[in-house]
Each structure stands twice: as C-alpha cells, then as structure tokens.
Subunit: 299 residues, 2 copies
C-alpha cells in the first residue's frame, strides 16, 4: 500500500470555508486516474491551517469519494494530545493510514520528536507514515532518528524530503536510509522535481504534490521508473523542468493552487489566508508553462 | 503603556490540562512585583500549543489576577480568521493590547504578512504589538516592512528580536528602526541577554521572559537602564551571564519552566508535549545557577 504514487490534493476553501463540493470532485478525479493512494491533509492540503472539525469533514469526504483507493490522512499539529485526537478522528472516518510531521513552534530536540511518535503510535490501529518536511517543520531528522522511529509499532513508510540530483549519490542516499530502518518500512520521495531520481534510486513511493492536481504526468514518470525504464522517467521529468522551476520560485502549493484555480477546479482564493495566491504576473507564467507542456487537467 | 518591563509568564499545564490555580498565582506574583505590563500567551506562555478555549480561559484568569496591571495577550495562529477570532476573545476578556507574530507553516511572503496585519488591525479596538520572533516563526522582517505595518491603525509597539552586542552598533540599529516607524510606536527589545544593551541603546520596553518567573532581576536591569545608569544595567545583566548561557543552550522556555517547577510554582511537566522538560542533568545545572546568583523567586 505504501508504494507507487500517492497524490496530495488541495483542500480548497471558498470565502474561508471548506469547499466541500470542489474537494470531493478533486478526490474523485485523482482516484479515477489510477494513483495508488491519495493523501489528504498533507502540506498541499493545508492541514496545519484547518480546524479539527474541518479536518474531520475533509477525511469523511475523501473516503466517500475515493472509490476504494486508500486514503492517507495528515494528522500533524503542534501538541501531542491534539495529534492523538486527530488520529482518532481520521481512523473513525476510515483513513487507511496517517501521516505525521513534527510541527514546531519551539525548536524540537530529537527526544521531543521520538516521544511524539512513541505517544502517537502507541494507540494507533492503522499504519503511520513518518513525514520529514524540513522546509515547513524546520526540524532535521538524522538517519539514526529515522531508525529509532521506524521501529515503533505501525510505522510503515518514511516520506523523505528529496534525494541528491546525481543518480549515484541518490542511490547511496536511499541505500543509507534503507540500512537504518526495518525492511518492512518503505521509503517515499517527495519534492516533485526529485521524484524521478528518487524512484530510479530505489525509493518505493512518490508522495506527490503534482499528482493531487495533475495525476497523469506523475503517473507517467512513476510507471517508467518503477518499470525499470530509468531513462524514460528522467526524460519525462526533465520535460517538466519549467514546472519544477515554478515550484522552486513560488512554492509548489501556490503553483498548484493557481493551476487548479485557472482550470476552475476550485474557486479563486482557495488557499487559507494569510497565504495569498500568486499575483497576476506569476499566474500568467504558470498558464504559459501549462499550455506549453500540454498539461491541462483531464475533466 | 508600551514601555518599561512587560513580563511573560508561563501558561502551566498539569497532565495536559491548563493549571488554572498555578497560572493565577504566577500572574498575581508578577503583578505585585511592579512590572509595567504582563503579556500572557506569549511564546513563553505556549500560546501556539493551546486551544481557543484554553486561551480564552487564560486571558480571563490573567485579567482577574493582574490587579490592574495592563494585560497584553498573544493572538497568533496560522490562519488569519483564527487570529481574528482570538483577537475578539482577548478583547472581550479585557485585554489591554494584543501581540501578534506571523506564524508560518508555508513560508510567508512580505505581502502575506502585511495582509495579515492589515486584516487583523482593521477591526481591532485595542492596541497591537508587532511580534518579530524569527526563531519561532522563521519569518524575517525588514525595516521597510516594519514601517508599512507600523502605519496601520492601532499598532502601538514593535517587539524586536534583539540588538547587536556592541553598544554603538545597538544604538545604530535602534535608530534605524526608529527612522522606519511612526514616532508614536514604541520599540521593545526581547532576547533577555540583549535587554540591557537594547534599553541602553534607546529601546522603550523590554518584553521579558525572565520577568514572567523572576521579575526582580529584570526590574533591576530595566530601572537602571531607563534611569540613565547604563553601566549599572550592563553590570547587572553581566552578573546574570550564567543564566543567559543556559537560555542559549536549552532555550529560555525550558529553562524558566525548570525554574518554576523546581520552586514549585507549577507542577512538574508544565510544558505542552511534545516539548519535554529538561533532563535531570540540565535541571541540576539550572539549580546551581539559581543558587549561585541568589535568584530564588520571592513568594
């Protein structure tokens, strides 16, 4: 279950209220595309900005609209007891797994983070994905800490932030992580620009931003890489370089939100304030890249 | 109102529940010490980890126990609409002012942050303190952004993260900020180790972690500095260097929590998990410093 492409859809708002219809439609589109799983309430799903009630509703909608595709659910929050409550909610609503990043306000020690995973996994009845996202959490895992956490009950996968651009260095990096964790725990790459390299280097899964809005090009990359056609995967990823460049400049969240807004999959202003959408100049650049690459979403 | 010492008390928990009695006693002690204001639900008050209900209760307790000393209230949250709700709650409970840091999960643009302050100040009926705390928010203000925000209605003060250690450089820094903001907006230093230098350099206020637990040494420094006795302020701050060294090593929050726990002002484990208290070795170091410097809290 923790291999292949996991798609991370937006959780769109409309006038600061969860846009239930648009979210359900996003989940249905992605589920129909053939992805292996759908992760709702990831960073692209704005989980950190939503209330417990909004998150509960979003999980319910996702499970109802996923057509049997496994739904993974982000349960991160700053306080351990709040994370545990969100885990309970997600499980009750039918989550196939939960995804947990160590959110910070005060800087964490490694023992804080280990304790968080220990406390949360203790009462869990579904698998957990360790979510390493230093760009948003400002916490840096070591391989030793991956290893300690991956031995806790129910830990099924580690979502790593990326791999080196050089293929040999990437293979070494994935091998080093593999040596640190139990064989049953999968490794999933994130950072979409690094996905082809990561999958070619031996990652089992791609936790994918772009697949949540444009699943087809993500599936093309992943199917090539996981089918042993490394060069084809790299070529398709290289073709999308203008998109990855936009992600690097503006952040993937604002770019996929602009794509989804332009294609009228969601209402304008779908992100939670204070996160402003892209300005009109940037939106034009995004539109040009989508046109040029032929990436219009299937309806 | 936005000058002198503003004391930042802990918001202690007991078994993950707000310890109302201990919090009320902390506020009463600090209010009786002669500080100029009390800022509850600052970073030292763990605001980012508490629920809206806990925060509403804490403000009520603080106002009831402050004996007329102005109570400022941290209203930070990741989402603009949540900040506005917290501002409403704080005002209804009698806050004298509100304090707002631009919390981040996704990285902010300057326009995101300006928009946050614009949206929050629009409907505010009490003054607002701009809270610049890059160590927790990972957002860096420019002086130009200070200037734009400080011109919004109700902005009364800017809490800056520190000043250079060199007195002349510190004076230049404070003068540069002063040139960027309206004359009616005060500048308050934070980072307790920098407080004497900051006040000597012309800051109007000290937003003080240590004053929330040990107000007397903070008042000694501030009274000297604000009374024109710069050398005496520096000498008293230098005397506390072992305490500032502990703050630098472990973070001020964990150190003041350990002090308050040792003195039985709060229950052991007063911080919200996953933030673990200091281990026993570090607690011994803290106790030695408190003994050596003669800093036992007044009862």
């Amino acid at each position: 279950m923790f291999s292949g492409v996991s798609a991370f859809p937006l959780t769109p708002l409309r006038d600061d209220v969860l846009d239930e219809g648009a979210f359900a439609a996003l989940v249905r589109r992605v589920a129909a595309s053939g992805v292996d799983s759908i992760t709702v309430l990831g960073s692209t799903g704005s989980y950190a900005y939503l209330s417990r009630e909004e998150r509960r509703t979003a999980v319910r909608i996702a499970v109802e609209n996923a057509g049997g595709v496994p739904v993974f659910v982000g349960i991160g929050s700053l306080r351990t007891s709040h994370v545990r409550a969100l885990a309970d909610d997600a499980q009750e609503a039918g989550a196939g797994a939960v995804l947990l990043a160590p959110l910070t306000y005060q800087a964490h020690t490694p023992d804080d983070v280990f304790g968080l995973y220990e406390d949360v996994t203790r009462n869990l009845s579904v698998p957990l994905i360790v979510y390493d996202n230093p760009g948003t959490t400002h916490f840096t895992f070591t391989d030793e800490l991956y290893g300690r956490i991956a031995q806790l009950p129910n830990v099924a996968s580690v979502k790593i932030p990326g791999v080196p651009a050089d293929p040999d260095a990437a293979a070494d990096r994935v091998a080093a992580i593999r040596d640190s964790i139990p064989a049953s725990v999968t490794i999933g790459v994130s950072g979409d620009a690094a996905a082809a390299t990561g999958l070619n280097a031996g990652c089992d899964a791609w936790y994918s931003v772009i697949a949540g809005t444009l699943p087809e090009p993500a599936l093309a990359i992943a199917r090539a890489a996981l089918g042993g056609e490394a060069a084809a995967a790299t070529a398709e990823s290289d073709r999308l370089a203008p998109l990855w460049a936009l992600f690097a400049r503006f952040g993937s969240l604002r770019v996929v939100a602009a794509i989804a807004e332009r294609e009228e999959l969601v209402a304008r202003g779908c992100l939670p304030l204070p996160i402003r959408g892209l300005d009109d100049v940037a939106r034009t650049e995004v539109a040009d890249v989508i046109e040029c690459l032929g990436l219009h979403p299937a309806r």
